[in-house]
Symmetry: C2
Subunit: 748 residues, 2 copies
């Protein structure tokens, strides 16, 4: 496989690839600046070196490097040295955060038979780092409260709210029970949260082989998939309330910060939680009685899945060391010149759960190569207009700790100076994924067109377009064929962009290649150099492509005459969200009315099987009409303002008018902030962005216009109407701001 990829890599250096430069100059450059920028980018793109990435990954993944470990600190110091050697002004910032590490872990079936879970990932012959057991963090879920509980066992599918409705209809309660949930279907922290809301006393989470195991390929080390003993570690703190250090919400976890006690921290779980392997889960699941689960709940183990409990009882014991640990954020700067007060920020975390070759080093090694290339250009005389800040975050895995504490500490400066934050995390073979602020959608389409895909001989943009045309829904296919720009996804959560976009309202992006290789080593001891160099981007050509895509993004943001924001795509996207919300209300209204009618008519009773009786669902309050007019009207204002800005921008670029650029750029930096609200979202004020947030009951998955969407989903109708008004106000602020921008720019 290596041979094949190496030969492909030759064509990926750019020889066979014609970028669309002639058609689309990089956004934000006046005609007089374009050629210099393109020349610079050509030099830049040739610099990232797969061999160096491979070597950096080998070095950084040589030992476990979780928060608080010796090698985490050593890695930070090595990264610091790298930045300095590239000519950057770099330092380490420390924070002291709550990070529990496991002391006791017990899972045992106590009835109808006895079985004690091994809770141990075993070393694999041929994989040289899998045997570093002394330094490995045992498999566990960080921020699980301590507990020692015994109770009946109930299988809850993915453990999301809808699953508990299904359980209730089959007469199965989790009150006083320990639940076992599959990984997937939501972010893991949702599972114990929802279980506790339903009265469960403990929670097990396991990786089912249908979703993450032999079903999709041979298991490690024969193949890339999760073996029977592999366990997914991970945080279960209630991050949809706030991420970062649970003891210092909203402020940096500096030495002298005012801290909550552990008992006061609202994001620690209400019940003990532990992750287990499918090897350990199978005897527990096989012991369950009760009705057989629906087809959509079934996993890939060779057993019949039952709801439980029957005779099955489980004992769960979890105890952690709750001491504070020190974070090592590496922060590096290349100073700007004419616009030194405007900061372009780029980050990737360096901490891992264990050896972390894929997560996070596959992204970090690309970032380091970007930094080396930028440093080299700097040494060769190039100077960016704007200040460039590169960060290697610590503590992402436990809860976005390093980025959150740093951003909270520097919040005022960041709000004043940050142009944009550009994140990456894991990287692999396949398609360039872009998520982020829609005011940067057009900009990122330009970048994707100018980066070659290492396998396909076309641009990353073209390859993604091809996949959307072939595999997308009817709507997505039509979009891919006819819309000028490929759509980017909104940001949910799950990596270090969260604080920047969600809390501070800084335009943000998340970039990474993926989609071709599957793997089953996520957050296990098998995510290591051996695995990555046998089963993922083995030639690091997608590492180079990521360095090219992210590096060019940084270069353009740092050098642009006019910052490359555009608002028509944003307006169109928000309009699409509002239409979705209207459909969602109508769909919910129809569902509720249909269901209530069916309940009244006895239809659930008529179709209940006496051998497996299913009760009717709960009656719900009929959905009222909602007044979407304020939102539609605000979107209309934004659409018109965006069009005026487009005209002004086109004229300014066409005529190369640099006179007002400085003033417009200062205003552009604040444009994303107009979409935030000081009060934040209902019940979770840390989240201030009114368009994007991770779902309160999904965790990673984004909820767009979250105040309105979640109120509708949860049937909180009066709140939905109130949230429409708040969201409309934010969109209206944005419209007013963009109008001002258009006037400033057009007045030149």
């Amino acid at each position: 496989m290596r041979t094949l990829l190496s030969s492909l890599a030759i064509s990926a250096t750019g020889l066979a690839f014609t970028p669309s430069v002639a058609d689309l100059p990089p956004r934000g450059f006046f005609p007089q600046s374009v050629q210099a920028e393109l020349n610079l980018e050509t030099r830049f793109k040739a610099m990232p070196d797969p061999a160096r990435m491979r070597e950096a990954m080998r070095r950084l993944s040589a030992r476990p490097h979780h928060v608080g470990s010796a090698y985490d600190r050593e890695n930070a110091q090595w990264i610091l040295g790298q930045f300095k050697s590239y000519g950057w002004d770099a330092h380490i910032e420390n924070f002291d955060v709550l990070f529990p590490t496991p002391v006791e872990r017990v899972v045992e079936l106590v009835a109808p038979t006895h079985f004690r879970a091994s809770l141990q990932e075993t070393a694999v012959t041929g994989d040289p780092t899998s045997n570093q057991q002394k330094e490995q963090l045992p498999s566990y879920n960080a921020y699980s409260r301590d507990g020692d509980v015994t109770g009946p066992l109930v299988f809850v599918n993915y453990g999301i709210p809808a699953d508990y409705e299904e359980l209730a209809r089959h007469g199965v309660s989790v009150k006083g029970a320990i639940v076992i949930a599959k990984y997937g279907g939501s972010w893991r922290g949702i599972k114990p949260k929802v279980a506790a809301e339903h009265g469960a006393i403990g929670c097990l989470i396991y990786s089912d082989p249908r979703d993450d195991g032999y079903a999709s390929g041979a298991v490690f080390p024969a193949g890339p998939m999760r073996p029977a003993q592999g366990v997914q570690r991970g945080s279960v703190a209630d991050m949809p309330v706030y991420p970062g250090d649970p003891l210092t919400p909203g402020v940096g976890a500096t030495k002298d910060a005012k801290r909550l006690t552990v008992a006061q921290a609202p994001t620690i779980t209400k019940i003990p939680v532990l992750p287990i392997s499918y090897g350990d889960a199978q005897p527990l699941l096989a012991a369950l009685g009760g009705p057989v689960v629906p087809g959509s709940w079934r996993g890939g183990l060779p057993i019949t899945y039952h709801f439980g409990p029957g005779q099955a009882r489980v004992h769960l014991r979890v105890k952690s060391d709750w001491s504070l640990k020190t974070l090592y954020d590496v922060i590096a700067k290349l100073p700007g010149t004419t616009e030194a007060d405007e900061w372009v920020i780029r980050g990737n975390h360096h901490d891992a759960w264990v050896n972390g070759a894929e997560d996070p080093l596959s992204g970090l090694v690309a970032e380091l190569e970007e930094a080396r290339a930028l440093g080299t250009l700097y040494q060769q005389g190039w100077r960016p207009k704007r200040t460039i800040i590169y960060a290697a975050w610590d503590g992402e895995e436990p809860g976005l700790l390093g980025s959150t504490e740093w951003a909270e500490t520097h919040a005022d400066e960041l709000k004043a100076h940050a142009v944009a934050y550009l994140n990456s995390d894991t990287n692999g073979r396949g398609y360039l994924g872009v998520e982020g602020s829609h005011s940067l959608e057009k900009f990122m389409n330009g970048v994707a067109m100018d980066v070659a895909d290492p396998e396909a001989g076309v641009s990353s943009w073209k390859r993604t377009q091809a996949a959307r045309i072939l595999n997308g829904s009817a709507e997505s296919r039509k979009d891919a064929r006819t819309r000028e720009d490929l759509r980017i996804e909104a940001l949910g959560s799950g990596s270090d962009y969260s604080t920047f976009i969600d809390h501070l309202g800084i335009a943000s992006l998340n970039l990474g290649y993926g989609g071709e290789d599957r793997g089953g080593i996520y957050h296990s001891i098998y995510d290591d150099f051996y695995w990555y160099t046998h089963f993922s981007d083995t030639a690091f050509v997608y590492g180079r492509a990521l360095a090219q895509a992210a590096g060019i993004s940084v270069l353009r943001l740092a050098n642009a005459d006019l910052l490359p924001f555009a608002f028509s795509n944003l307006a169109e996207t928000v309009h699409g969200y509002v239409k979705e919300l209207q459909s969602l209300r109508d769909k919910r209204a129809e569902e509720i009315a249909d269901r209530n009618k069916a309940i009244d008519e006895g239809l659930y009773k008529f179709t209940s099987d006496p051998r497996d009786p299913v009760t009717a669902p709960e009656r719900e309050t009929p959905a009222p009409e909602l007044n979407f007019a304020p939102l539609l009207s605000a979107v209309d204002s934004l659409t018109h303002a965006a069009a005026r800005y487009d005209s002004a921008y086109n004229r300014a670029v066409r005529e190369g008018r640099s006179g007002v650029a400085k003033q417009v750029n200062e205003q552009l930096i604040q444009a994303e902030r107009a979409l935030t609200s000081n009060e934040g979202l209902r019940n979770r004020p840390w989240y201030t962005h009114m368009l994007y947030a991770p779902g309160f009951y999904t965790g990673y998955g984004v909820k767009t216009i979250p105040g309105v969407r979640e109120a509708i989903e949860q049937g909180q109708w009066p709140e939905a109407d109130a949230e429409i008004v708040r969201a409309a106000a934010a969109v209206q602020r944005e419209a007013t701001w963009v109008s001002t921008l258009a006037a400033t720019l057009g007045g030149a």
Copy 2:
């Protein structure tokens, strides 16, 4: 479970159930006849006795009773005695048919390791008939040609044409290979047919536990599902070409019939085939190399499913005894009075693959109780207007042999005299399923309203309506709420109605309860009395409900003043089919155009993963427009004629005008025949009905307006236009016939 069902059964005797008599008198009865009919039905409904059904099932399933076995003949004679004891004029008709039985069976993996399949279903403790190995037909597929082949093994999913396209795109050929296909996705006989078309030299078919095993419940004997050693027997003759005896297509297999040689028989498979259990399949599948299959292909075994072949090679040997065997069809009559030349025919087969408690005895014991009840009424003085014929068919399992040979033998009489054929086969708990001629849709809705569901305390109609409202698609839900009649499905194939509807054009129905219990004993030695009385309709209350539904249907057809056909539902249904065909053409046209464009643009190349390359599909000829005008115009005529018939019918019934009934009834008998064509379907002239046929590449699944639909599906565009004209002619004949009927009836 028995207790629960028995208590429910009390309310199902009719106490809590109010039939909708006042609203809807049975169709076809003049006002002066209604009360007598309802009184008769009330007497009839009280007669079928669950205890007798249980006893009959025990007796008939006591030993294996496949075609040619001693107990098959004994059962026929016992059934004959039963009919006679009920007062029927009964006899046995014999036919001599080709029915191969296994002599040698070998399946072995010969590389990369050796494994020999057991091919043996094991006896189960506690199940008293599972150990009758001497009399059991070994697991095999009847009408597999003999063969002894060795070749690489390839997994082909369900083995339908689309699966071979997927294989080709992954570069996997089955030329010279032995394929292994999952049961499901089509009738089993399609699998070796399509495999041979692609150059395979042998075919294995196995029951995957995801579809038929532990995935959906505990396995036998702990639960009802298929155990690891369970095998599905079954015919693999090419029945979409013609069913019945392969040596006597179109004519009865009487002693002196002209026969093809075995070598000439076109419906015998082109390659050897054998069914195996998932216990035997697992080592074969685990040995496969090649790319990993797509998610939709995966089964429930705890392995990674690969296309193959890699190193895997298999040896398959199949040899049968090809001698003729004798069929024993039991035919019983109750003579009609005023309309003795009009025959109402009812049938269920009696032969099984092994002990066959569910298939076919659960249906047969209901039929016998109907016959006993009708005989009792007859002895009490009731006389039907029309002649009633009850049949217990032999040889259904190998290929609808008994019904087909009987119907072919008596084809001319049947075409002249048969009012309708009413079939049943297996029966279980749940919902009344009705498939059949849409001219009887309204009639069957009336029957379903007047039969109580044994569990739900409402009519069988109401329970089905409830399920469709709760679980149906948006369209089906709307239909169920607003349409006067619940829709019945068109007949495909898979039981003894096939010859009546498909070959002779006799209006037909298939009835049976089911949908609540799942099972995995189909065509195995575990389909026996122990299984049925532990896991299915254990109290035989659904047996009674089937006897009530089928018996009342027979009574109404036999006693009606005017035969209860109606044509507006037929016209509306055919109109729906034509709209489906138009959408199908448009969808195929768009797919072909999209795919050709994507091929031309290189999109498949851009998205191919070099580690698992997938080639572009084949370019297809763009779809031309089709001229649906003749069909739409014919449907329009039928719609108008049907409305005129409805008016005439309503007036005739309202005014109780019996004068023209005899003439109208004679014409009504011929109405279904107008939908047939003497030439039959293209390439399979045995099938003469132009609206309904089993699919050439689906087997059981119906293709409505099959000439047109299959031409479109297979991209045979000129043929599609020609078939539209032929289908339109049939619909136009029907319209003309119904017009005549309306005139005859209206002229009274």
